[in-house]
Symmetry: C2
Subunit: 229 residues, 2 copies
């Protein structure tokens, strides 16, 4: 099939930096490419945007096709566009719209049509894997965006199940920022931020003292922010 246009022709892809916590570690979803260029190399999941779908729909579709992740499992946010000539070795000019997808302890992925393997990789390891295209740079940008968003927004709850405890939420901050936080100061800040979390009234019993259960509140931004050191 051949497509035509009156204007300079571009292909547009959606590439996704999907982040989740597994065993307390921040992990990114990588696929091993089994088709077209960069065969056998690790890459971010993604693919071509169809002409009749929105950029966001394409990102959701690729998450489903390449990793078996449902749209309800993640929160999507646009990162930026990458479009340098030569960033894709194919003769067509390819512009990638990169997305950040955040989810709670996501299931092991199911490889799709363009990948023979898909797995969650701790972000430190992923940065060492010499990803295909400019995906290492996209991953770096996505990580920095996620780290910054934890300061100014309530997006940390996207890494949690619908209900969670404050130690759960603290572990999100600790994993994404790769640091340790004081539990007392952390609780004071979270509970002092109007609308960040709401008590459900329940407690969860684990190995020690029962923990209060919360759900995400209506606030989307944090005033004042919770800053990294």
């Amino acid at each position: 099939m051949v497509f035509q246009s009156r204007f300079p022709v571009f292909a547009v892809t959606a590439d996704i930096v999907a982040l989740t916590l597994r065993q307390g570690r921040l992990c990114v979803l990588l696929i091993r490419r089994s088709s077209s260029v960069f065969t056998g190399r690790w890459a971010l999941p993604g693919g071509f945007v169809h002409v009749d779908e929105s950029l966001e729909e394409a990102a959701y579709r690729e998450l489903g096709e390449e990793a078996g992740l449902g749209a309800d499992a993640v929160r999507l946010e646009q990162l930026r566009a990458y479009g340098d000539p030569g960033r894709d070795p194919r003769p067509e000019r390819v512009v990638s719209i990169a997305w950040l997808a955040l989810g709670a302890d996501l299931p092991d992925p199911t490889p799709g049509t363009d990948a023979d393997l898909a797995e969650w990789v701790p972000v430190g390891d992923a940065l060492d894997r010499h990803l295909a295209f400019d995906h290492t740079q996209i991953l770096r940008d996505g990580l920095e965006r996620a780290r910054a968003k934890l300061e100014y927004t309530t997006i940390a709850t996207a890494f949690c199940e619908p209900t969670f405890t404050l130690p759960d939420l603290r572990r999100v901050y600790e994993a994404v920022w790769d640091t340790q936080l004081d539990p007392r100061n952390f609780q004071r800040k979270i509970l002092g931020a109007d609308g960040f979390v709401e008590e459900t009234g329940e407690v969860i019993r684990g190995r020690g003292n029962p923990a209060k259960v919360y759900r995400a509140g209506p606030a989307r931004t944090l005033h004042p922010p919770i800053l990294r050191r």
Copy 2:
């Protein structure tokens, strides 16, 4: 001329939210369209990305072609991509990469090939003009990005000449945030932020007490940030 591709075909445009201060007011560059769709409507400057130039080069080129602005006059930063089907009435699918361009008191623009008028418009007026395409939304996003960046980065200096006084810099914050700031507290914060500004050792004499002259320092981010109320 007809272009062809193996992949779904997109056209890619660069649209620019160019902001500057004129007489102490935050203004955005608008053009009145004289070609193809939305003829006669006000819009952000922009145009199609060529197949052999980077997205950023296209933004600089369009600023030159449509408004006569040189690349050295502005600081460019990518905003995000806009690509909903139907955002452009032409049959081709058009994805726009939007950019923020910040500059010091920029000259009156020179209309280019696709515009019969180009002018700096106070942002409040621009938001009321029912811009072409989804440009009102892009403008809103650009303004919010600029306002947020003033908190966490040293980008305010992009609105200043190479050398400037602290009252100049304060007027940037006041115009972009549409608020009044206490000069004493402002100076304390700016001078307390390592690497934000450097003294040149000169003073500028105006109508009153001479003001110390500064230039932008090496810092690009602010720790801690200078927060809006």
